[in-house]
Symmetry: C2
Subunit: 336 residues, 2 copies
DNA sequence: CTACGGTCTGGTAACGATAACGGAGCACGG
DNA sequence: CCGTGCTCCGTTATCGTTACCAGACCGTAG
């Protein structure tokens, strides 16, 4: 079947009649080595079934080509898009993403960060700007670049690539007010664990205040992850508690779609009787009937910009330490 | 700021007056060490800002606690669920998932597998049972467990945790036929890259054949990843090409929902005029109006069972080499 | 003929942790 | 007093690769 010992560079060296050092060079691109020698080495390696050992290489060269990334949940198309953009940008350069899920829990994030740092990544990307004191300390003392994303942290640890969730919601409130809506509610953002969600709710309240409007129509939607089902339940409560509501902004397109379906089940016309806005520009918001007004947070772009920032930093190119993304308001039929 | 050299176990040993070996023991749970000594060591480590170095540990102990996983795309709730189940099962035991995306491309999968194996994972999980010859060889020669998922491979490389996509679709066809539908179409599964999708289409054709029904109402939906938009486009083509169709089965709930929205835009009653079935039991299918009949492929369970299988294998517990998952037909309003 | 730059290859010594082994110290029983 | 078993800790030698430093060889210029 297979040998009990996996072949090493030394085995290839013996078989090819060169030194282990030369074998090493054959596997490293851009090293000074005769083409014939290299070909012979690679051929011998293939014959022996050799598999390069990153573990040893990492230790000796003190670089792992790992980029550590924490996201709240894998089950979220927005974060998935960010990771996708990041992954594509970085894997082209041979980096491997080390992904961890915090489950929207800062304690879990702390554990995760500690675990990830042990792997000696060459940069670490975290979602959000709120951390436990110890997690903060770990990140500050990490001798690699730290990038916070999806937020504009009050006190950035290192770099960040993000946007203001509060400002983004404000742009939608402005749209609703300009469209003539006055009695506006908000669904979600009640879970303190989802800090971006609660930033959106706070932004909603501040925006309504600045328009001189009543900001007390707040409907809870429970713990993250945000679900369509909870959006539907929340809409049911909204219609019961504040029957005269003209428009509702949801913490996410997912809850917005759930809310929309609740209206459909009850025969409540959207936007005729109540207008709906979401957040995140998920695919569903663009295709459901009516299509959802939303804010595109540019999830993929966040990932790409983060990836490029990391490459700049690791290549010692001049970099912009803080990247602010501009979310884009997308007005669709659900609010007109 | 920070020292230019990160502290090592030797530094802690010097500071605490013990040997490096004892420091090592302090960090390994279940080792024989005096409680006071351990506490002193951990305290000194915290003071020095020591971070355990997995790369060195991995090399010496020849185990990385990595589990390599390939999935077609991160942007798919089903695969995300599988990874979620896998991750939860394994991270409780200290394993780290090394995730890679094949982008539905076997060539890319081959590159990815090679790259992942260099990291010396302790097991490798791949999605699907179709691979390039070289990828197959790499997996066969890997000296760690190999688990194929989301499929019942014709020739399993090692273990598998999956189900027959063809059989799963057959159960839905049977439901439609029993409900009285005869002119049944299929949307998607035309892209050979999405092998599970094309298995479903083939299963659809075989099932219709066995019922003595015409299986030529096939609508393409383009390259993966499967999108709601393409589902809507496909439904438009279906209504144009085969206007007398009574029911349609889609390769995924996502295309099914897209198809449903197209019907809504055109005022085509569902299921009154045309019934719709999806696949995968995505959240959306349970909440949209009407809710979608679908097949639950038990994505999360696939991940959990794979995780438990890996733990059994690594702990030398007796294991069931091949786990067959039973997909569950869920009948909802879209087909009744 | 010597000097010199460029290409290619080899020897040696780490990188930082730990497996394996051994030994010290102590308690206990006969 | 010795033998036995247990807890706890130190010494040594790696794990497989590569950074660093030499050095051999070749062609060309002075």
């Amino acid at each position: 079947m297979r040998n009990d010992k996996a072949p090493t560079m030394a085995d290839i060296a013996r078989k090819t009649g060169v030194s282990p050092m030369t074998v090493s060079r054959a596997f490293k691109s851009g090293s000074l080595i005769n083409k014939d020698t290299r070909d012979a080495i690679l051929k011998a390696a293939e014959e022996l079934g050799y598999v390069f050992d990153s573990t040893a290489s990492n230790l000796r060269s003190q670089k792992t080509d790992f980029i550590a990334v924490t996201i709240p949940s894998i089950n979220n198309a927005n974060f998935a898009d960010t990771v996708g953009g990041l992954s594509e940008t970085l894997s082209a350069r041979g980096f491997q993403i080390l992904l961890g899920y915090t489950n929207y829990d800062v304690e879990e994030e702390e554990r995760l960060i500690e675990q990830l740092l042990r792997r000696k990544p060459q940069a670490i990307v975290v979602t959000g700007g709120k951390h436990t004191p110890r997690a903060r300390r770990l990140l500050e003392n990490a001798s690699v670049p730290v990038i916070e994303t999806w937020d504009v942290p009050a006190e950035p640890i290192g770099h960040f690539v993000g946007f203001s969730n509060a400002d983004a919601v404000r742009s939608m409130v402005d749209h609703f007010v300009a469209a003539g809506y006055r009695r506006i509610a908000f669904i979600g953002g009640d879970a303190s664990r989802d800090t971006r969600g609660s930033d959106r709710r706070l932004g909603f309240i501040a925006a309504l205040d600045s328009h001189g409007l009543d900001a007390s129509r707040l409907i809870d939607a429970g713990v993250p992850p945000i679900s369509m089902r909870e959006g539907a339940n929340a809409m049911a409560r909204l219609l019961a508690e504040f029957p005269d509501t003209e428009a509702v902004i949801c913490v996410s397109d997912l809850s917005a779609f759930g809310a929309l379906t609740e209206c459909q089940r009850r025969g409540v016309p959207v936007p005729g009787r109540i207008a709906i806005g979401g957040f995140g520009n998920y695919e569903i918001g663009g295709i459901c009937v009516p299509a959802l007004t939303t804010v595109d947070a540019q999830a993929r772009q966040i990932g790409e910009r983060t990836g490029r920032l990391i490459l700049d930093l690791l290549d010692d190119r001049p970099d912009v330490p803080h990247v602010t993304i501009e979310p884009r308001l997308i007005v669709r039929d659900s609010s007109r």
